[in-house]
Amino acid sequence: MERIIEFFNNFKAIYAVEFVLLAFAIFFALNILRKNNAKPILWVFVLYTIVISVMAFLSEGKIPSYMVLMFVGIFVVAVVSMFATEIKRAVWESTLKTPEAKHTDSRSDRDDAKVCINEIIKAVQSMSKNNVGAIIILANSNMPSAILDSGISVNSEISSELIESIFFPKTPLHDGAMIINDTRIQAAGCFLPLSQEINLPKELGTRHRAGIGITETINVTSIIVSEETGVISVAHGGKLKRYADTEMLKNTLRNFYWKEK
């Protein structure tokens, strides 16, 4: 007790700096655990920090302070590496403008967007009807060049005929993803990172995994048409919504082109 009173009597500015930095680091780790429903690990972290601190206190300086900081640091690093994908997504979301925020102004932009929405819906529904597999990524200049370079640059206006032709089976580009940037088809046949989520339904194949995987790390939306069932799915933020109807597709595309409520 005397040692604690002495600590407060000889309080130095460096202690306040240590406190603020540590509080931020601990809150950062706790927040990741909280958002990922990892509450048991959260309580282990809290207990672990308290035990290490009490041990350091009782050892009366025999456990050096850098050791204590190192032990707490190890846990923070462990949490960060466990949830690397989630952190990547959070950073993307906080630093990038969302695609929804882009088009709100001119009339001609809106007319262009309406045409694009109709063309995409027409193509997706036709492919769904004919059981043609497809994966379309709605991105706004936020697609990494590594992904764009893995496919073929198209840079063309959006038309349902072109989309259907690209995904027509046995054509060279049908197997990869199509990237739509704004009102143009930027690239096709692109390779995407696959989702490592283990709880996805077994009937979802590689195409769905790719569609979800890209939305886990980058703020984009994917529209996926299943080759086996023709079911249309929409993925955003690592979450997949299956059995998308016209209304859901329209809402997804409206959210991409502008926010309309």
Partner: protein, 36 residues
Amino acid sequence: MRKNEYRKKSNDFVSSLPYIFIAIILAAIVVIAINV
């Protein structure tokens, strides 16, 4: 829409308050433990 976003952000902040509190307590414990 903006109202909803504002509400969502304020809900986020309120739900993270207990964790801010825990982080402050833990940081204080560690700082005291390493400096006494």
